[in-house]
Symmetry: C2
Subunit: 150 residues, 2 copies
Amino acid sequence: MLTRIDHIGIACADLDATAAFYRATYGFEVFHTEVNEEQGVREAMLRINGTDDGGASWIQLLQPLDPESPVGKWLAKNGEGVHHIAFGTADVDADAETARQAGVRVLYDTPRTGSMGSRITFLHPKDCHGVLTELVTAAPPKGVEGPSGH
Amino acid sequence: MLTRIDHIGIACADLDATAAFYRATYGFEVFHTEVNEEQGVREAMLRINGTDDGGASWIQLLQPLDPESPVGKWLAKNGEGVHHIAFGTADVDADAETARQAGVRVLYDTPRTGSMGSRITFLHPKDCHGVLTELVTAAPPKGVEGPSGH
């Protein structure tokens, strides 16, 4: 079950300049940065608020690592702007299957790794009224381990 | 101070069909619908989650009333998709002024009426790295009155 707006993914040409804009204009601070080679992006996560499912909502700034990456091609075509939206769930596998059963194309056979160790998949924008839509299950908080202690 | 992602505004050609998609695919229900003549839209609000500032995050579906309205022109140019994002604040006037001082063009001299009696303004997308950005103060809950009881 999808229980929150997890993040809004925004493509930008210059991650540092865009993060500086969000800080100066709105007071939003960068909480985390990382490079995701598989997704072809450098990204910054700005935590905006907590949510009543125990998670949080974020602005995710995305700078392509390469003009030929998916976000790089998107940026060349569209310019800077909202690239995708993401809904949070405790079980991305189950919600991806629900979407698939509803006739929506799911872009990955199995979820891949997203920001901060999350597991993510994407739904085809042409099946979602023009919106590239991500489903995401956040990584468990640090210190939360499985039954074996690992 | 901006304290939440208030909503994601999505432009669509057919409000009822798009709302049906969100219900069938994700289980999100329409909480409220209205026509905003000033904004030139018919809209549906889907409540996704509560936020730790006491508010909520929503998907806002927008169907233009007229092809010549701002959302109508946007839809003709871009097709269906994310039209704007909105941050929630207890004081839209103060945050609009902060943005103005930061050099961002604010589209209204004073806030106008948004969804469910909120007060809203917009920041120019060219000053916001390509993102049309709304600032919104939700209407007080019903039953919360001023000191005079009115």
